[in-house]
Symmetry: none
Subunit: 127 residues, 4 copies
DNA sequence: GTGGTCTAGACCACT
DNA sequence: GTGGTCTAGACCACA
C-alpha cells in the first residue's frame, strides 16, 4: 500500500502524481480503469482532499487520466498521453547530477556504471 | 557572465550552488582558490547577501568549499573530502530516481547505461 | 516559559536548538508530536521567524525533527535515525574536546570517567 | 609543528590560545620561558600579527603569560594562574552535549564510557 | 575587509 | 494555515 512520505522534500501531490503515473505507465492501471474518487483516495492516504484534487488535475492536464463529470476519473488511453519531453529532460538531469556528485565523492566511473546496472537489473522498487 | 534566472522554478540559491558546483568539478575553480566574498558576489549578481550565504553554506555542507570566518570562502581540496555516507546516499537517490523515471518513460536499460556512460566519459575527466 | 537570552554568547538560534533538543531527548516532546509552527514560536519567543526556521533546519539536519511543508514540523521517531557517520564524528569530537580540556584543567582520568558515568546514569533514561 | 585550522569553527586566535595554554599547563613551556615574539609567531603560523596579539593579550588577561615591555612575552608562574572555573564548566558542558548526542545516535552508555576511556588512555593527541 | 547572526518585512507553493 | 525563499537593511566578532 502506497503512502506518501511527509518527510520528503517532494510535495505530497507530486508524490501522488508520480505514483499514479508509474502505475499507469507500467500497466498496473489499465486504460479506462476507474481511479478511486477524490474522497476515497483522500481517506486511504489520510491526505487532504484538496491535495488529491490537485494531483488528479495535474494528471488530467498531461492526459494521463480523464474526468467524466459525475462518474469519476479514469485512465486515459496511451495514445492520448503527451510525449512529455520535459519529463525526460528532467530525468536526465537527475542522472547527471547524481553522476557528478558521486564522482565528486570519489566513486570511479566503473563503480557508478555498476551502481546503475544494479538499479536497472534490480527492477524498480520504492517509488 | 552568470546571472540567476529569477523566473526559474529552481530557487536562486540553488542555481548559484549548481553553478559553483559545476565550476569546482570542472576545475575552473581550483582547490584553495578564494571564492568571491558574500558581499562581492551579492553585488555581482545583484542578489541579496543572505541568499549568497545560503548557497555557500550548502556548498560547505557538501564539502565543496570551506569557510574561514574573517578570511573568506575557499574551494575545498579533493583529499579533504571524508567519505560521507549521508551525501553518498543522497547522490545514489538522485541516480535511482533518474533511472526509474527514464524506465517509465520508455527508455531501455541499455539506453540508460549508454546515457550514463556518456555522462561519465564526456563529463569531468578528473574531479 | 523558555526565553532565549539575548545577552548570551550563544546565538539565539543555538539556544533554541539546545532547548528543543533537551525536550526531545527527555521525552517532553514525543515522536510525531507537532512543534509550534515557525510563526507561532516566533511570536511566543518574540524572535524573528527566520531565526526559528534556522533552528528548525538545524534540528532537521541532525534528525531530531522532520518537516512537512504546509503541515508543520514534527519530532522524529527514534527508529528513523539512520546511523549518520558525520553526526557521530561531530559528537565524538565534542567528547574529545571536553576530555582533553578537563585533563588540562587538572582533572584525573577517573574523575572524568565518573563525571561521564553521572551524565549517563543521571541523564536521560531512554532516548 | 602546530598549524591553526582555518576550516575550524573555532577562531584562529582561540586555537592559538588553547594550544599555548595546553603547552603551559602540560609543562612543555616552563615558567619564565620566553614565547616567540608576535611577529615571529605570526610568520611561523602565517597568521595575521593582530591575531597573535589578540591571543597573547587573552593569555595575559588570564595570567598564563606576562609581558615585559621591550623584552617579550613570558610564561607566568603556576601560582599566578586564575583557577578558571568557567573553563571547567565549559568543558563539562562539552562532555554533556557529546554524551547526549551520542545517546541520541543510539550509542549505549557502556559504549560511551568505553569511548571516553579510550580518549583518556590514548593520551591527548591533536589539540 | 570577512563571515555570522538577526530583524522586519514580503511573496510563493502547498495542505 | 504551513514551511520555503528572498530582500533590505543592521550589528557583531574576527583577521
Amino acid at each position: 500500500m502506497f503512502q506518501p512520505d511527509l518527510r520528503s522534500r517532494k510535495s505530497i501531490y507530486a508524490q501522488i502524481v508520480d505514483k499514479l503515473r508509474e502505475e499507469i505507465l507500467s500497466g498496473v492501471l489499465k486504460p479506462d480503469e476507474k481511479l478511486p474518487s477524490v474522497r476515497e483516495l483522500s481517506r486511504m492516504l489520510t491526505v487532504n482532499p484538496n491535495t488529491i484534487q490537485k494531483a488528479y488535475r495535474d494528471l488530467e492536464r498531461r492526459h494521463y487520466v480523464y474526468t467524466a463529470s459525475g462518474l469519476g476519473t479514469f485512465v486515459e488511453k496511451p495514445e492520448a498521453r503527451t510525449p512529455d519531453e520535459t519529463l525526460r529532460a528532467e530525468a536526465l538531469e537527475l542522472l547527471r547530477r547524481g553522476v557528478t556528485e558521486l564522482r565528486y565523492l570519489g566513486m570511479s566511473g566503473d563503480e557508478i556504471k555498476a551502481a546503475v546496472a544494479d538499479l536497472i537489473e534490480g527492477g524498480i522498487e520504492k517509488s
